[in-house]
Symmetry: C2
Subunit: 534 residues, 2 copies
């Protein structure tokens, strides 16, 4: 028996109409390259997004064509987030931190026909555009405006898309292999937005009263869904433009009375350093929470924000393949009144899944691991905003299980309360004597040593044990610690066989385009090199 | 171009798994007929719901078969809300306040094959069962338990339903014509739940920390979605059983530290009377809000709860046909800091739509009315949780417009800020001299008169004006007011031609099964009757 309910498709034009209709006077503020602030409203956003949709149609683009962006975070990028899919096209955000050769591959593989680009990023575009099918280059500061001027917003008609049509694409910048394209549908994006909005009592549930500043780049995984969440809820937005240093962000938080913000851990290290160095300089009493995702924030950082500055860190987990928000480490009520150390234990975990996200972890034999926070397994996930495949990359089909779950590549334990506890990546976990050693656990512990600024731990081949851990550390300026001191520092918290046999001191740890450690490069550096400091 | 995201169907078994997995220790408390309290957890709910699903399959019921309930609000009814749809069957809630002849019609029309019934309601069932196709009668206090005992919860398998399959049915008890069946799909119910959870900053967004007591009967419109919302969010539930008097409810609010509750205005009148009569008796400091829906709460009532008892009324609007929540009169941030009278102006309205609910109002010529809070039109609605038709009732097809919107039958004005302002029902609005007079506005105003307990206003035929308003009032015990006094009381706020020419005093106003005024009956009483008090 079928339900008798409207066949109402879940597509992004609904967000456009909602924001224009019910929140026309809410503000979108952007810090421009010259550090001044541009202000306009959702009324303006709606008008210009519709103009963009119409103008792209007039350019001759057709339904389903990919339109790329190569931009920082600003209001025009927000217009692309709405206008491109609402015109029936596919928004393809390019990561401006990638190597031009990767960008050439990605734009060609996706078949991008047009690109919206910041003037400051034109030199980057010129390095790879020739190798791509891009026909139209729209420069944010001039030709983009000229294009918009060709279109009457009232000409826009909802293209009445099927909810399963593509809305956006984003390539994952894996540390190994070619980048792989994730294709979000209108439906997955809408459900992700609803899931995030409803998922957490404290977490991410922006309201119409909030002022949100997304530090997360809009070229990362759907901008974590914030442009859509803000439009649905009518929240004010503040875009930092290219000004992502701690001081600029803190100034913007104060000036715009920001209540929520979100970004990767490295950004927060800069902010924490500024706050520590300038006590009382910034009044952040209106800040309700700071979402940290992309990679796990060190426990010490969460603690420092809370204890020294009264700021709440909310820790989320997800991947490009999961739209991206999958879980939020928000505290259930009974824990919210626990002592701070216990709260910290939970906030440091990767949280509980949003509604409609389902999780399991399986060991190397494919058996579900018990929820004991001890047995490691690979995390698998399914849900309406999880990818079912990569764009035209059949060789990656083994990332999905036979029964249709996505293999995240994260090695986790599951807490008895259901919280995810990421231990490592499948490719980074160190296989020693038939057991697994978490490189991430060791790294986090090492970064708690007063002399250590950064630390990465990699597995290097070992005849007897198969692999053994090697610690690569960056010392704080003017500080040092011997391998023996580092081992002693770790010893109380780890089994003896977990302790790295060898340490290397480096000037900097190589990182990927999204700020993660490039462990492949580290392995190449040290696997065959003689020990320098054992 | 299609998205590449999982084809994850939006079905109710996901709620069952989520509640069992992540909130196993959260409580569901029920007040039993003998006034004692029964307590169990979501773990128990999950186990027993799965048992119910398996047991119904063993009874020989088939996918899509309708299983009725004839019950008050209690944990077994909650099990039916989950177990029946999770078994692949269709939950059909019967309204125990309807006439047996109507129940016979409804159960036959729906083709119910089984019914779960409270022992106290067996005499009612026996009055109509013979005229229905019901094969299996499961009495909550005995044969229902015996049935569950036949099934192993681990035998349950997700039936892997298509999201568009039916999950539940509810008949609208119209004041005219035959009851009409609304058929909710799994998809519509899931999206309604997500929409409600995300829709309002303050409104209905239950969290895992909340304790919710639904006064709204579970035989009304999907129980306003609360069983599903609570399961998704992990909120504690408190069911009042048949004890719906003000004192019993207030005692339960205090004992269980209830934070949210919801019901129709008549319930709140009883609660307000108790609070007024016993100042300080009940400590409701933990109560965050009381949702009032079903019909509009009088402004004076909202004011009284806030001013005299510090309690927040949240006003929602919806219909059986809209799953039912369509809008919530939650205050945007700028109004939340306005003076109380202005806040009250907005809370008294029917609010702003939830995400993915779209609204318009059209006049008798089909033209969209301006948002001036002055021009009346019929409210039309569309969205993923709005009915597209009634079950096997083709003669009602004219309730939908040619472009697929549902005609609500509500005459509204739209506020410049987008708030809905219900003026009347299409069939109750009084057509006088080519203009419309809102019976509801007059009723609300009359109920503000100190001598008036209840008031209904109906249109009676008039040779010159087509119709003229007649006021029917119930006086408070020992009080009275002359028609002249009532007209004078109304005069400052209404055009002269709106004032009723005639008033009738009655002992009680006849009401429908869901507590609405039965205006058809009033019209029959007074249209041809001589004036008693003009």
């Amino acid at each position: 028996m079928k339900g008798l309910m409207m066949d109402y498709q879940l597509t992004l034009p609904t967000f456009l109409r909602r924001a224009e209709t019910y929140f026309p006077d809410k503000q979108i503020v952007t810090r421009l390259p010259d550090r001044s602030f541009h202000r306009y409203t959702y009324r303006d956003l709606g008008r210009r997004s519709r103009q963009l949709a119409v103008a792209l149609q007039k350019l001759g683009l057709e339904r389903g064509d990919r339109v790329a962006t190569l931009c920082w975070n600003h209001y025009q990028h927000n217009e692309c987030y709405l206008g491109i899919p609402c015109g029936g096209f596919v928004l393809h955000t390019l990561n401006l931190r990638l190597h031009p050769a990767d960008l050439a591959y990605i734009a060609s593989h996706a078949g991008d026909r047009a690109v919206v680009v910041d003037r400051a990023l034109l030199p980057l575009l010129e390095q790879f555009r020739g190798e791509t099918p891009i026909e139209h280059v729209l420069v944010v500061e001039d030709s983009y405006e000229e294009l918009l001027a060709t279109a009457d917003p009232d000409e826009w008609r909802d293209p009445e898309l099927d909810e399963n049509e593509a809305a956006a694409m984003c390539y994952t910048s894996g540390t190994t292999g070619r980048p792989k394209g994730v294709v979000y549908s209108h439906r997955s994006t809408v459900l992700h937005t609803l899931g995030v909005a409803s998922g957490a009592p404290l977490g991410l549930a922006l309201s119409e009263e909030d002022v949100f500043l997304p530090v997360v780049p809009m070229f990362h995984a759907n901008a974590w869904g914030y442009p859509y969440l803000a439009a649905m809820m009518g929240a004010n937005l503040v875009y930092p433009g290219p000004h992502l240093d701690g001081e600029s962000l803190l100034d913007a938080f104060v000036q715009e009375r920001v209540t929520w913000t979100a970004g990767v851990p490295t950004i927060w290290l800069g902010i924490l350093a500024q706050l520590d160095a300038n006590p009382g300089k910034w009044d952040l009493s209106h800040m309700k929470g700071m979402l940290i995702g992309g990679s796990a924030p060190p426990r010490a950082m969460i603690d420092a924000f809370k204890q020294r500055h009264g700021l709440n860190v909310v820790h989320g987990w997800g991947m490009t393949e999961t739209s991206p928000v999958a879980s939020v480490s928000d505290l259930p009520g009974d824990l919210r009144h626990a002592d701070w150390e216990k709260q910290l234990d939970y906030i440091s975990l990767q949280g509980l899944p949003l509604p409609f996200v389902e999780l399991r972890a399986r060991d190397s034999e494919g058996k579900d691991v018990p929820w004991d926070d001890r047995t490691m397994g690979e995390l698998e996930i399914r849900g309406p905003w999880v990818a079912s495949g990569y764009y035209e990359t059949p060789e990656q089909a083994d990332r999905w299980t036979e029964d249709g779950w996505f293999k995240t590549g994260d090695i986790v334990t599951l807490h008895p309360d259901g919280f995810i506890h990421i231990q490592d990546r499948t490719k980074d976990v160190i296989k020693s004597g038939g057991e697994w050693i978490s490189s991430v656990e060791l790294e986090n512990a090492l970064m708690g040593h007063p002399a250590v600024a950064e630390a990465a731990v990699i597995g290097i081949p070992d005849e007897k044990w198969f692999e053994r851990p090697l610690g690569v550390v960056v010392m704080r300026p003017g500080q040092s610690a011997s391998p023996e001191e580092l081992r002693e520092f770790l010893a109380p918290n780890f089994a003896k066989w977990w302790l790295p046999d060898r340490f290397e001191v480096v000037e900097a740890i190589p990182k990927t385009g999204v700020g993660k450690f490039k462990k492949t490069e580290l392995r190449e550096m040290f696997v065959d090199a003689p020990a320098q400091a054992t």
